[in-house]
Symmetry: none
Subunit: 122 residues, 10 copies
């Protein structure tokens, strides 16, 4: 369904792999295209994860998010693809991706997907 | 009780059927007719579901919601019918429909119905 | 204690009796008379129920609520009588009535009563 | 990764070691440098801990936080390092450090790490 | 249009007629009947006035407001009638009456009328 | 541009024509059709006026608003037409109509038009 | 109308009589008795004034306010009497007294009175 | 500075040119590119105008806004260009355009420009 | 009335005396003693001024405010004394001091005094 | 007083010099050093201006603000210096700079300075 490959998420070593801790990232400036009509869609993407041996590198995440700007992507698919790409890049102990999409056709859509079982933090 | 058939909800394949994830949709512009008096009713319809093999297609959902514009429908019935039509169209693992109806006769009515048992998400 | 009989609550068949679902109704324009002084009282009445074979018909509920306008009724009594009348009319699987009465003599009174055991919804 | 050692956190004796109690500190004026670009980053650091035999001394904490002003530090690393330095300095029964970093590249990042198991307080 | 005369507003001497001062009263529990359908209407009535030789007596105002309970009254008419009755009873230097009526037929109506020119207060 | 004539606004005599007073009405349940696409539009219509010899009758206003349900109407046109129809029906001393239309195509539109010069009220 | 004389307001010399400045005092714990029924009334009394040669002494103001506890006093009267007593005690350049009385008989009453013309402050 | 021409704003006849009235439009989903770095920028564009002989057509406005998606544009320039294009397309009696741009480099920028003198509306 | 002299306010040269500009300072941690009872009073002191040839030095202001800790001071007097001391120390073009004192004896007191005429700033 | 020169503000040509319009910029991440103690200070700097022939270039503004990170600067001085440097760089028709500095020594300080007379915008 994607019309071109997304920019690659880069992994950097987790400097504290011996500890379960949580990273939360919000991307309020996400935009892609509707795969049916080609019209622009807008969303806030939220990522939460507990890293294992790697972290996601911030600049590559920014470029990865920008790379959706010209792609057609269904709301449900794009949320799961971001989760899949994150899991493939850094193999976290747990991860969750939420997409809060702006109203289209009078309908507001939110999608939430997760990977693994969330460890207790403190 | 419906005065004409609703527009058909279309299913599209779930691109990530191997994962339990949640889709939440809000339709604040729902309107139908009172089956007793023919007067217009207004509501916000909220849908949450965990898909199995199919998703509900967004444009067909919009048209489906619009198709109630000229139908007579009791609050309790319309909420359950939307749930039934959703279940028939996409056979989700779990689904919930809530109808928040505007005040009529000085009375505010909300109806909530669900199908299946909600899986844990992450 | 009531000075005249209340308007009768009408039952209509539940079009979806095979499913446990919840109906919530709020009546912010309830008024009756103080049985001690004859002075007007004002309240918001809230009803929640899970129907069995019948629903309460909305227009009869409106007229039922209006019929308290000229009745004397203690706060605690009126809340329980509404619950009793609802149970007698539609035999729900579960029902709850809350009366939020306006301040009288510098005192705010809320009364909450329930019938049956609430089923889990979804 | 740090470009110079941080100012040392000082410990002072806990005058009430026989009791589990909680200390919460917020540092809204934290700033460091991006290790990739050298550009300034800003964050609010929050610390909560249950002391054992020692407390962290307030002035040394202020100087410790200031010592990051000219250091390069990844968001995830700096949050864990503050936790490690706190644990090394005062050996608390439990501690949690949260870093709420300002938006960079359109992305807001929060990191939360903890040490030990939080005792019940009251 | 009124179906029976309202309870009479009583005047009491203004103990401070040598001074322009303002009295503001709010009556959130006003109810009357729709003259077309006989159905109950609900409103908040607000009164502001600068007294001349007389004040309106509080208990008579309460009974006056209660006396609308069984009267048919259009929104625009009842607001002006309250103003007229107030002016007839106490001849204030200035007065204003506002009626904030609850939604009927999906329409919310507010009416505001005034008598005389408002003096400056202090 | 309208596809069929709107229900007629009825005038009733103003029972207090000797006084300038203001009537304000809000209609949050307005819906019409887009004249380009036939898709439903939703708006809140607000009316304020100072009556002369006539008031607008509430039930006819409700039916008038409902009569737009099946009409095609541009946002700017429908707001001005409601003002024109109000002026034609009751010849107020002053009137203002505001249309707050829901988002379409990612764009939120509000339109405000007025007739005559607003008299001072008290 | 007062059933016994109020405690006397004491004046203290204004240490800065050469300057127009403003003093604002709020008394949220005012209580008196209804002169008709003997029931307790509650209010917040607010005083603002620009002193001339004297200030009102704070402890005497507190005792003055407490002295209303067993007095019968109409809302309009008590507000003006406090203003009169303040003016008699300290002859301010300007003063304003506001009484915000709690709901009685479903009616909320506020009274505001002033003395003199307010000077500009800075 | 623009890298390609924007989609053309279409004018439609103003059906009520004999009256000064105001149209307000908000576009929260505006995005363009930074002309220095090529990175995406995001803004909310707000337009207010009093039409003369023409209105701006809503769909062309949507496409016009979308056409900035791939253009490089300085914040100050794009706000003024939108105003210029609007004025060229519909020659309004008055118009104002505001651009609220998201934070870049830790700096939030808003730009506001206007054309003509705003007429009084009612 | 002060029981000992306050710490002296220090002046530093205004580096920009050719321009009217405004400095605003808030001191939320002010405490002094009640001159009648010796009990502690708490206030927020706010200072605004337009400097002429001098600014007030921040550390001396802090020490000046601390020096009231053991002084008896009436609310009205302390506010005016701070204004007088500020004027004596830096001869501003305009200055205003406000004291927001905490409730004492159930009474909340605010005092506001000013010096000179406020210049227009930009 | 500055310990080293600030990064230079760059001017870019104003693409719309024939029109008075307003640019507003907020910099919430400003930090400098206290010239007395060397301790870090934090502020939000706000700039508003009406350009003449030039705009301030955004990246140079970012670097200019960062260049204060290692400078000693009094609150009043730094606010005026930013205004002076802005005026020297772009000669605006009007400009205003506000510095909202964080609490130091228990005192919160805001400084506001302006240049020229603000033109009316639309």
């Amino acid at each position: 369904m994607p019309t071109k490959p997304a920019h690659r998420l880069e992994a950097v070593p987790n400097p504290h792999p011996d500890r379960d801790y949580e990273v939360a990232m919000a991307v309020p400036e996400f935009t892609c295209l509707c795969p049916m009509t080609g019209q622009p869609d807008f969303a806030t993407i939220r990522i939460r994860y507990v890293p294992d041996q790697h972290l996601v590198e911030l600049k590559s995440l920014k470029l990865y998010m920008w790379s959706y700007r010209d792609q057609g992507a269904f709301h449900e698919d794009v949320t799961n693809r971001i989760l899949n790409d994150l899991v493939a890049a850094i193999r976290p102990r747990w991860a969750e991706v939420t997409g809060d999409f702006n109203v289209r056709g009078g309908i507001k859509t939110d999608v939430r997907a997760a990977y693994g079982k969330r460890p207790e933090i403190g």
